[in-house]
Amino acid sequence: MKHVISVTVENKPGVLAHISSLFAARGYGIDSLAVGETEDPATSRMTIVTHGDDQIIEQITKQLRKLISTLKVQDLGETEYIERDLVLVKVNVASGKRGEILEIAQIFRGNIVDVGLKDLVVELSGHESKILAFIELLKPYGIKELVRTGSIAMARGAK
């Protein structure tokens, strides 16, 4: 089962390595990992998408809490949360097809950020399901290159 875990950590060198070492050493899977500074420059927030049964997820969250550099660990699966992923897609533009691609981008409310003779780059952000649907629709045109940030997430409501 997919789980999104939000970890607030000290913003110091080596912390990211420490967390990925923990996952690697214990054989836990990382589906995606995104990290950046927060409202407090001394801390960063890491969003880790992992999977496993309840016992594994319990161990993962406990092991993360045990690390000295982690300040707060939240298994977002237990609450309502907002999740966003950002993707840049470089898609083939055969003559005549540019219009269709622009339409799809417009429907999904994506932005064109690069235009060339043979291809263009669309930027899109949203929930993972929206990203995946968008990519599926673009596949028939030929996706040259694709890069995703991985999910970032935040619990809803007052916390």
Binding site: P13, G14, S21, L22, Q55, Q59, T70, L71
Partner: protein, 556 residues
């Protein structure tokens, strides 16, 4: 004259009450060694950094204080890795200081450079690379704090040479600020109440006690609980000494090479009270057959140990001492005559046994027990020697038995005995070793001689890598691949004398006791080379993956 990093380092050691630092110098760490010469902290120069690490570990286990070791960069630091991993697995508080190349050279494949924070990331409780000398006082304060509090563990501080020579006037801080590190010491009141109710309702309870009881210094509370409610007590390898093994309620060690009566008691219990233990696979055997009829109470300071292997019914996260103190008044006085009688019958029907003919390793351990009246501090190497040391000596005090349990590191015993002797200068210290293990850190004999430590090394010399040979005998049709040592073992008596220690060879049963007495009386380190029965096996034995009540061999 302004303070430099090396001054800050020595100042920190003094403020933390460090008496001994175990290590070997090298190019980038000379500044620290230079300042050590003028300080009250005593340097113990070992002959391999692994020896320094294990000595710091043995010192910490024997004294309860933080052990400190130091090595230079590159190979010196990597030589500490096994010792750090050993301490990590057994929750031993040590601070390891490693030199590092100058900061501008880091990451450039400099001479004797090693990425120690990367290499030790998963085997330390925490580690630091100090890039600014003004961070050093805070880092050292945090290092000692992290090492000794909560569930203790090794902390590594990587110190570049230019940082140790850099100037900073900051003083050693009085407090630590670690917002991400808040161990929970106080057990939850409601959980403790539930635990008491379960104990009061149980008919066949068992106390399962581990190294955590020794770390938290709660042997007294365990004794009170056991005697108040008539609960038999079994200990893990690391818990030996937490409950006096001469007491009628003692079951001795459980698990793969534990006593049959301990394993039966756990398997047939209706309540397992785990204190400071982690349900390791050597103890549980097949998980689905472990204590199948029992409710489980688990008191432990580390939440990650709870419900990791087996489902715990009543978890209590907190310090064992405080939690037991809160629990005791809620537990009713009780007797369990039927349960204790059943256990007594198991003890009579299935005692630990061996055939007493020739020179048996079990006999040697028994004689060490008798000759020291059970008061010796025992360190061990790993393998058959370790198991016989656990079985045939009756431990009665915490910090009396010092052994690498979790990692199972051969070569641990001799340097650990050195550390233990420094911690307990008046104690009689014995390292119970095998001929394989003793050679892994034999060079530390020089350390024992240099510092005049009267450690006694009892080699149970059977000419084999004993435990592996036993598995090959039982499961691989005696195909002794890579386990024959006897064709090239040195004359250990000559080795001892070459180092300036005493050597005593023992080839018959009658010589055993007098040799042990002579060793104890000698002010020098002594190697006792006991030529024991070569293919003796450790029994009982739970085959890997079996239930712990399905033991092989060794039954009367």
């Amino acid at each position: 004259m302004r303070k430099i990093g090396a001054d800050i380092f020595v100042d920190a050691l003094v403020k933390e009450g460090v008496e001994y630092i175990f290590g070997i110098p090298g190019a980038v760490i000379i500044p620290l060694f230079d300042k050590l010469l003028d300080s009250p902290v005593k340097l113990v120069l070992t002959r391999h950094e692994q020896g320094a690490g294990h000595a710091a570990d043995g010192y910490a286990r024997a004294s309860g204080k933080v052990g400190v070791c130091i090595a230079t960069s590159g190979p010196g630091a990597t030589n500490l890795v096994t010792a750090i991993a050993t301490a990590n697995f057994d929750s031993v508080p040590i601070v390891a200081i490693t030199g590092q190349v100058r900061t501008p050279l880091i990451g450039n494949d400099a001479f004797q450079e090693a990425d120690m924070t990367g290499i030790t990331r998963t085997i330390t409780k925490h580690n630091f690379l100090v890039k600014d000398v003004c961070d050093l006082p805070r880092v050292l304060k945090e290092a000692f704090h992290i090492a000794r509090t909560g569930r203790p563990g090794p902390v590594l501080v990587d110190l570049p040479m230019d940082v140790s020579l850099g100037q900073c006037d900051l003083d050693y801080p009085d407090t630590v600020n670690l917002p991400g590190y808040k161990p929970n010491y106080k057990g939850n009141d409601r959980q403790i109440k539930l635990a008491a109710e379960a104990i009061n309702a149980s008919k066949r309870p068992v106390l399962y006690v581990g190294g955590g009881v020794i770390i938290s210094e709660s042997a007294t509370e365990v004794f009170e609980l056991a005697t108040k409610a008539s609960i038999p007590v079994t200990t893990t390898l690391l818990g030996l000494g937490a409950f006096p093994e001469t007491h009628p309620l003692a079951l001795k060690m459980l698990g793969m090479h534990g006593t049959a009566y301990a394993n039966y008691a756990v398997t047939e219990s209706d309540l397992v009270i785990a204190v400071g233990a982690r349900f390791d696979d050597r103890v549980t055997g097949r998980l689905d057959a472990f204590a199948p009829e029992a409710k489980v109470i688990h008191i432990d300071i580390d939440p990650t140990s709870i419900s990791k292997n087996i489902r715990v019914d009543i978890p209590v996260v907190g310090d064992a001492k405080g939690s037991l103190q809160a629990l005791l008044p809620l537990v009713r006085q009780a007797t369990h005559p039927e349960w204790l009688e059943k256990i007594d019958n198991w003890k009579k029907q299935h005692p630990l046994v061996y055939k007493p003919c020739g020179l048996k390793p079990q006999y040697v351990v028994e004689q060490i027990y008798e000759a020291t009246k059970g008061e010796a501090v025992i360190t061990t190497e790993v393998g058959q020697n370790q198991m016989w040391a656990a079985q045939w000596f009756k431990y009665s005090r915490p910090r009396q038995f010092i052994s690498s349990g979790g990692l199972g590191t051969m070569g641990f015993g001799l340097p650990a005995a050195i550390g233990a002797q420094f911690a307990r200068p008046d104690a009689v210290v014995f390292d119970i070793a095998g001929d394989g293990s003793i050679q892994m850190n034999i060079q530390e004999l020089a350390t024992a001689v240099k510092y005049k430590l009267p450690v006694n090394i009892a080699i149970l010399n059977n000419g084999f890598l004993g435990m592996v040979r036993q598995w090959q005998e039982l499961f691989y049709r005696k195909r002794y691949s890579g386990t024959i040592l006897g064709d090239a073992n040195p004359d250990f008596v000559k080795v001892a004398e070459a180092y300036g220690a005493d050597g005593i060879r023992v080839t018959t049963r009658d010589e055993v006791r007098p040799a042990i007495e002579r060793a104890i009386a000698s002010p020098r380190p002594v190697i006792l080379d006991f030529a024991v029965e070569s293919e003796e096996n450790v029994f009982p034995m739970v085959p890997a993956g079996e239930a712990i009540n399905k033991m092989m061999g060794g039954m009367a």
